[in-house]
Amino acid sequence: MTGKKTKGSQDITPEKKVEMLEQMIVIRHFEQKVEQMFMQGKIHGTMHLCTGQEATAVGAIGALEAKDKITSTHRGHGHCIAKGSDIGRMLAELLAKETGYCKGKGGSMHIADLDLGNLGANGIVAGGHPLATGAALTSKMKKLGYVVICFFGDGASNEGSFHESLNLAAVWDLPVIFFCENNEYAMSGPIKEMINIEHISQRASSYGMPGVTINGSDVLEVYEATKEAAERARSGQGPTLIEAKTYRFKGHSRADARKYRTREEEKEWITKKDPIALFKKSLIDEGVLSEEKAQAIEDQVQSFVEKAQGFAENSPEPSPESLQEDVYA
């Protein structure tokens, strides 16, 4: 049931690898900026950071074609960025500005960019499974050839709509990939106490689809597994369940004292399984990247995020008239 080790990902060009690293760094810096602005009181409401989970978003979406679609989760900033969203408009949404992706009416949990094939983040755990299944049905019925990735966390695998949707997608051979980012905790609930099996991917066998557990800190392993699933889906062979083991370096959301896990456990992940550090090192070892180039990327991303902040902060508030706009089409 555990995934096979990546075979070196020969089909990925060095340029693509560097691009993937860059995207991961953008996500990391973006989340740092969000946290900083939240602490400064500039962002209200809540936010769920995906720091530490950059490899799942970038590896999985990196294996897609531009026409493919995704559904995302409450912890969805990384998915948006990997799908190509503008971080200025994302930050503007978090600041509830009119220029935000949702005109300031959705916030962190509801960023969508339909033009890019991002069908939206979802505040309901496992809320996206049926929607992704439906989007895949459109692809099949209209012969559009696109694949849908449904991202979700370990907690979602205990929701009824997870099970119903996997079954439905399997019996109709729909081109959808159910991608579980298993970060070990459903808010405060350790997954080991929430399921009585070793791997969430085992659940795939109940629905007659392949299931695989992979290392979610290895962006290339994520890429390979998703590529394979996407090929299956595109060729009419139906859905796949991928479980990527990962870890969120931060708490569930704001004000999380993280009493449910130890600082030692966190340190273990942060020092040994940081997907960005691991990937950067391997690219340097491979000779694809130099230390100088790596530093240049960091600097570039830094100013890119600052620019996004400037755009967001200088954007106007939504007009009072917009309160009742867009309820109905």
Partner: protein, 327 residues
């Protein structure tokens, strides 16, 4: 004009639209060879095939969300939810997803899905298959809610619902499926949000929904013998509600009674009654706006008790007499 049943007219509306628009398809439990629990989709599998008449697993959350996801990406699905009571299982997808996606995504998504579902009591199906829960959905911004009472309204409103770019809840009444009425053969729409005056009158306005329209029309016959002439208004759509037609009628009759099958407490009848109370008609009222609705009990199986649980013709006659001090 020929007469067909309510069920046939629902089927005809779907079939005519499906012949004209490849993006329209139907999905639901047992809708294929079985023809749906109430036979509404009989024969559609033969004409349109299993790709467009999709029999689903019994998975209300997934099939509802699947219809919504398909609608977001360019299809125009019609979902048959076998009994409206099963909305409980699909509620997250209807309330948290379909109704809100457009607003929360800043106006980018549209969700042209129709959820057709049989509601109401009278078929001896007891507490879990007989409810009238339309007030729940009418409470949610982002949804439209339709309750047709005649074969002709069902056909025209269903076509309008399918062509609408919003999620539409389409409540059919299971006792009305066999009811016959004049229905035009060609494809036509009745605009959503327009009430219909089913009978003109001068003494009192009764706003009745779904099957209660017919019970009220029967009551009107009886009251007519007593020289009491009630006006019967069928809102046809709860959201949006045609307030103007109702208020205009109450301004004329100066008395209003709202009749629903749904449990009276917290029902949509309360919404209609308070809308009248807040309108300019208030100053002209000769009696308090009144309501008849289901009693505070789950639907019982026993046929006598089942009838007692919802307003009957005699209850409407009696209530109207009371309101006119003619009891």
């Amino acid at each position: 004009m020929r007469e067909i049943t309510y069920a046939e007219s629902v089927r005809e509306a779907m079939s005519q639209v499906m012949r004209a628009d490849e993006d329209v398809f139907i999905l639901g439990e047992d809708i294929g060879i079985y023809g749906g629990a109430f036979g509404v989709t009989n024969g559609m599998l033969d004409e349109f095939g299993p790709e467009r008449v999709r029999t689903t697993p019994i998975s209300e959350a997934a099939i509802t969300g699947c219809a919504i996801g398909a609608a977001m990406t360019g299809m125009r699905p019609i979902l048959e939810l076998q009994f409206s009571d099963f909305i409980t299982i699909a509620t997250d997808q209807i309330v948290n997803q379909a109704a809100k996606l457009r607003y929360m995504y800043g106006g980018k998504a549209s969700v042209p899905v129709v959820i057709r579902t049989p509601a109401g009591s009278g078929a001896g199906l007891a507490a879990q298959h007989s409810q009238s829960l339309e007030a729940w959905m009418a409470h949610i911004p982002g949804l439209k809610v339709i309750q047709p009472s005649t074969p002709s309204d069902a056909k025209g409103l269903l076509k309008a619902a399918i062509e609408d770019n919003n999620p539409v809840m389409f409540y059919e009444h299971k006792l009305l499926y066999g009811m016959k009425g004049d229905v035009a053969e060609d494809s036509y729409t009745i605009p959503i949000g327009v009430a219909d005056v089913k009978k003109e009158g001068t003494d009192l306005t009764v706003v009745a929904t779904s099957i209660m329209v017919h019970k009220t029309l029967e009551a009107a016959e009886e009251l007519g013998k007593e020289n009491i002439h009630i006006e019967v208004i069928d809102p046809r759509t709860l959201v949006p509600l045609d307030e103007e037609t109702i208020i205009k009628s109450v301004l004329k009759t100066r008395r209003a009674l709202v009749v629903t099958e749904a449990v009276k407490r917290g029902g949509y009848g309360a919404e209609i009654a308070s809308m009248i109370g807040e309108s300019e008609a208030f100053d002209f009222l000769d009696a308090p706006v009144s309501r008849l609705g289901g009693v505070d009990t789950p639907m019982p199986y026993n046929p006598t008790l089942e009838k007692m649980a919802v307003p009957q013709v005699g209850d409407i006659v009696q209530k109207v007499r009371e309101m006119l001090n003619r009891a």
